[in-house]
Symmetry: D2
Subunit: 117 residues, 4 copies
C-alpha cells in the first residue's frame, strides 16, 4: 500500500472513531487546509530567505507540525472526492513539462511567474 | 521507495533541468504553497457543502490540478528542510490522538474547533 | 483625513516606535496578511453557512480581531507600495460592473464563479 | 460618511443589483477572501524582498487589483456580521500597544514572531 493510502486509511479510522465525518465536507476541508497553510506561512514571514533555509529548532518543529497538518487535510480532501493524489501529481508534472520546456525556461524568474497554475 | 520520495526525486530533477533551485528558498516555497491553496479554496467558495461533495466535471478537474500543485509545493518545501513528511504525519496523528481522545470528543463540533493545531 | 489614511498614519507611528520597518518588505507583509487570513478562515471552517451568519460571542470577537489584523496588514502593504486603497477599490468596482453586467449575471452562481478576479 | 461605509454601501448596491446576496454567507465570503489573498501573495512569491519593494508596472497593477479584491471581501464580510472595521482596528492597535511595549520590543525580530495574533 502506498504512503498516501496508508495515511488516508489511518485518517479515516481516526475520523470515524470520533464521529467527525459529519464536519468533513470538501468545502470545510478546503477551509481547514487554508487555515493550516496560513499557520505554516506565518512561520516564515519575518525570516529572510537565507534564514528560512536554516530555521532554529523550535521553528523547525513548528514547521514540521504544520506540514503534517497541511498533508493530512489535503489527503482527507482528496479521499472525500476520490482523487488519486499520486496520479494527479504525475499528470500535473507532465503538463508542466510541456508548459515549461527545459531549455527555454532555464533559470528564468521572469517567465517563471506562475510555475504551476 | 515511498510515494513521497518518488515525487520528491521527480521534482528535484524537474527543478534542476530548469535551474529553478535558485528561486526555491523555503520562504518562497511556503508562499507558492499559499498561492496554490488560495486557488484550491476558490473552487469551493460559492458551492454549498452538499454541492462541494459532488462537483461537476470541470470543477473536479480544476480541484484535482490544484491538489496536485499543493502536494508538489509541500513536498518541495519538506525536501528543502529535510523533513520526512510520512514520519511528521505519523507523529502528528499520535499527538492528535492524545489531544482528542475518542470518547470525549465524539461528534463534537464545539470541541473540534481547532482539530489539528 | 480618510479612514485609510488615519489608520496608515497610526500604523506608521506604531511601526517606527518599535523600529519594525526593517521587517516590513512588501513580500513579508503579504505573507503576514496570508497568515492572518488563515486565522480568520479557521474561525468559519466547521460552521455551516447559517451558523456563520450568527457566531457566538467568543467566535465573533475572534473574527473581529482577525478582520482588524487583515485590515492592518493590507494597509501596511498598500502604504509601502504607495497604492491608494480607496481609489484601487473604486477602479476595481468599475471593472467588475463592466465584467458582470447586472441583468445578465443576476442570481447566477454558475457565472459568478470568480467574482472579482 | 467614512471610507469604509462608502465602500460598503457601494458593494451592497452592486450585490443587490445582481441578486448575489444569496451567495454571501460569512463562511463563503471568508473563503473568497482567502482565495484573493492567495492571488495577492502569488505576485510576490518569486521576488526577493528588495524586488518586492519596487515591482514592475504590470506586477504593481496586478497587486493593486488584488489589494482591492481583498479589501472588498473584507468589507463585505464585516458588513454581514455588523463589525465596524475602523473601531475593530482601533481596539486591536490598543491591544498590540500593550502586548508589544515600544522599548522592550524595539527592533526585535525574535520577539516579533507573531505581531498581531
Amino acid at each position: 500500500m502506498s504512503d498516501f493510502q496508508t495515511i488516508q486509511q489511518a485518517l479515516r479510522r481516526f475520523t470515524d472513531e470520533r464521529d467527525w465525518a459529519q464536519f468533513h465536507s470538501p468545502k470545510n476541508l478546503a477551509m481547514a487546509l487554508a487555515g493550516e497553510t496560513g499557520e505554516l506561512v506565518a512561520n516564515f514571514q519575518w525570516l529572510t530567505e537565507a534564514q528560512s533555509a536554516a530555521p532554529d529548532a523550535a521553528t523547525k518543529q513548528a514547521i514540521r507540525e504544520e506540514i503534517a497538518d497541511v498533508q493530512m487535510y489535503l489527503l482527507l480532501l482528496a479521499d472525500k472526492l476520490d482523487i488519486d493524489v499520486a496520479q494527479a501529481v504525475a499528470e500535473k508534472m507532465e503538463m508542466n513539462a510541456r508548459k515549461y520546456p527545459a531549455p527555454e525556461f532555464s533559470g528564468s524568474a521572469r517567465k517563471y511567474d506562475r510555475p504551476a497554475d
